[in-house]
């Protein structure tokens, strides 16, 4: 069957045969390894440390390269394929680099009813980043379309890195957020 329009799938992290980009950092720091092992000890089974450990690795490397996943597996003492499977299952584990300020715009129904599409286009235009296409040349910005951020009543909403910047984001508020990032008042990605 020939479909003229294939559905837009979510950013597929890894197509078969595609290689993960390589991070500048080579090794998990000893502190990170210690942190991973301490967290794993909080749960009845060390496997439960997988998600927290991947967050720690993401903080260290900026994103999860294949090498980062292998090191997480080694630090936890769990099989590598398990870590790979988990890292590629969850969308918040980044398999490719993102910008220093990673803008996540919810375009799900409630936000869309209140102008999320327009907000997404504005964010893309103001930062120069193409949604879902990785960071800008200077590594400063990246933009991503995301699903529901639990701010449906105060949409359109926007999250930058792990901070919350929601509540009726209009042009003036978007400018204020961009300024705060430029001035370094917002924690950059991974910090």
């Amino acid at each position: 069957m020939n479909h003229p329009l294939t559905p837009e799938t979510s950013a597929e992290p890894l197509a078969p045969g595609q290689r993960l980009p390589v991070s500048e950092r080579k090794q998990l720091s000893p502190e990170a390894v210690a942190e991973i092992q301490a967290i794993a000890g909080r749960y009845p089974d060390k496997l439960a440390g997988t998600l927290p450990a991947l967050y720690i690795a993401q903080r260290e490397f900026g994103f999860l390269s294949l090498s980062a996943m292998k090191q997480v597996a080694a630090a936890l003492g769990v099989p590598e394929p398990h870590v790979y499977g988990v890292a590629t299952f969850y969308t918040m584990f980044k398999k490719e680099p993102v910008g220093r300020y990673h803008f996540q715009v919810c375009t799900n129904l409630c936000c869309a009813l209140n102008g999320a599409g327009e907000l997404l286009r504005k964010v893309a235009a103001r930062t120069g980043a193409v949604p879902g296409e990785g960071p800008t040349g200077d590594g400063m910005w990246s933009v991503e379309e995301v699903e529901c951020l639990a701010s449906c009543g105060s949409g359109p909403c926007l999250q930058v890195n792990e901070g919350v910047f929601d509540e009726f984001v209009d042009e003036a508020k978007l400018e204020a957020i961009l300024d705060a990032c430029r001035r370094g008042e917002t924690s950059p990605w991974g910090e």
Binding site: P7, P52, M92, L113, E167, S187
Partner: protein
């Protein structure tokens, strides 16, 4: 961490259902005030941890009986009776001792729902108190709070709140001198809607991919780490201290028989004053949308309403008289679900709405069951075609043939949830789909895409 938060404007956004003061606020007390979350405030202003004292003086079995008297139904979506759920947990026998777990489901991700976030942000101690009481009732030693990944900013605050409770002797070892230990551990997901399903959540909590499990065994038999587990929604657990404060029988007087208590409705979409409204169950939809939330924000008539989060089949203006409780909404062919009410005016293109929702379900399907994995993608593909002016005459029949092939054929309800919007929209707004195919454009004049 720096973040921009607008000071809530009560004219524009409701935090507790302003104007509805004739109804008690049990879970959203102090919501909207960013300083409300501390232990000091919870104890000083809101009788905090009084219910815990009452609970610890009771036998666990009596506590479960009290929950049964209150007849509260789970607020996560399925509406299962909480007291009954708690009673499924196995008791220790001389031959066998169990390690039981309590899990709080804070993976709020149902589009249109934002109530748990408000409890976690403004009233975390009420949740913690509810968890400790539930832990005592089921004789657990450990409780987990599973938060969705996007709530990273909330988890920092929650950790501080937990530490405040520990420092005050309310959590941890020897709680209030009773000799009973209970600890709460937070766990953060990483962006997967499916983890709101209880067995997927348990897999995620164990550090695995969030794929739902085959039932049985049910969580009460073998849940987290293979041990008996009860999973409750944030709102359900936050209601527990309120039930003990007023007594189960008094709580049951709120709402209607079989649908007791208050619940938090999340209003979004085309309403004048969106936000959170904590109300007794059973009030008419018309009263909530038009009288409390001020009706349509655009001045145009309201065309469609999703009554219980995006998974609930749509209602239309004829259903304004529907009482908002589990049974009545079910009677209209929809479900009360998570209480997320999404309002759409008559300029909204229903094809676009359904396409956007199905994009979400296709994205979030875990891929484990073929009917859901393939079916959602097929529905999305067809809807995408229709929405973009490339629909074919046979597409409507093809689209209509998919939900019966997905419904009830999957391990978890995600596939069923994706069928609700498609079936209800085609049934109620079928003319718009036909117009889209015949005229290659929208009946309401809306452009394609969000």
């Amino acid at each position: 961490m720096f973040s921009i938060r607008t000071k809530p404007d009560p004219q524009r956004y409701s935090f507790d259902g302003l104007g509805s003061t004739q109804y008690p606020n049990l879970m959203l007390r102090g919501a909207g005030d960013l300083d409300n979350w501390t232990l000091e405030r919870y104890r000083g202003q809101w009788e905090g941890y009084q219910a815990l004292k009452t609970a610890l003086a009771m036998e666990p079995a009596a506590l479960i009986a009290e929950m049964k008297v209150s007849d509260i139904r789970g607020r996560g979506g399925a509406g299962f009776r909480t007291g009954l759920k708690w009673s499924f947990m196995p008791k220790d026998t001389p031959e066998r001792k169990f390690t039981r777990y309590l899990v709080c489901n804070g993976d709020e991700g149902e589009p249109g729902t934002f109530k748990d976030r408000a409890i976690l942000e403004y009233n975390p101690h009420q949740l913690i108190e509810g968890m400790i009481i539930a832990g005592w009732a089921m004789q657990c030693k450990t409780g987990f709070i599973y938060l969705r990944g996007e709530f990273g900013w909330l988890s920092h605050k929650l950790e501080v709140a937990l530490q405040q409770a520990r420092d005050a002797g309310l959590l941890g070892r020897n709680i209030l001198g009773t000799g009973w230990d209970f600890e709460i551990v937070t766990y953060r997901g990483a962006g997967a809607y499916i983890c709101g399903e209880e067995t997927a959540l348990l897999n995620s909590l164990e550090g695995r991919r969030g794929e739902p499990r085959v039932k049985p065994p049910f969580p009460a038999q073998a849940g987290a780490f293979g041990q008996p587990t009860t999973v409750n929604n944030v709102e359900t657990l936050a209601a527990v201290p309120a039930i003990l404060r007023m007594g189960g029988a008094n709580y049951a007087k709120l709402g209607t028989p079989g649908n007791t208590g208050t619940r938090i409705f999340s209003l979004s979409g085309h309403v004048k004053r969106p936000g959170l409204y904590e109300l007794p169950l059973g009030l008419p939809l018309d009263f909530i949308v038009n009288d409390l939330a001020g009706g349509s924000s655009t001045g145009r008539p309201i065309k469609a309403i999703i009554p219980g989060g995006s998974s609930a089949p749509m209602l239309d203006a004829k259903d304004f008289d529907c009482p908002m409780d589990f049974d009545s909404v079910k009677g209209r062919g929809s479900m009360a679900g998570s209480g997320g009410i999404i309002v759409m005016d008559d300029s909204t293109c229903m094809v676009k709405v359904v396409e956007r929702l199905i994009h979400f379900y296709a994205h979030e399907s875990c891929g484990q069951c073929t009917p859901c994995r393939e079916g959602c993608n097929w529905m999305e593909m067809i809807l995408h075609r229709i929405e973009n002016g490339q629909g074919r005459a046979e597409d409507l029949a093809l689209l209509a043939s998919l939900p019966p092939r997905i419904n009830m054929r999957t391990l978890c309800p995600l596939g069923d949830a994706a069928c609700g919007p498609v079936e209800s929209a085609m049934q109620k707004f079928g003319a718009e789909f036909e117009y889209h195919i015949a005229h290659k454009q929208c009946m309401c004049g809306a452009p394609a895409g969000v």
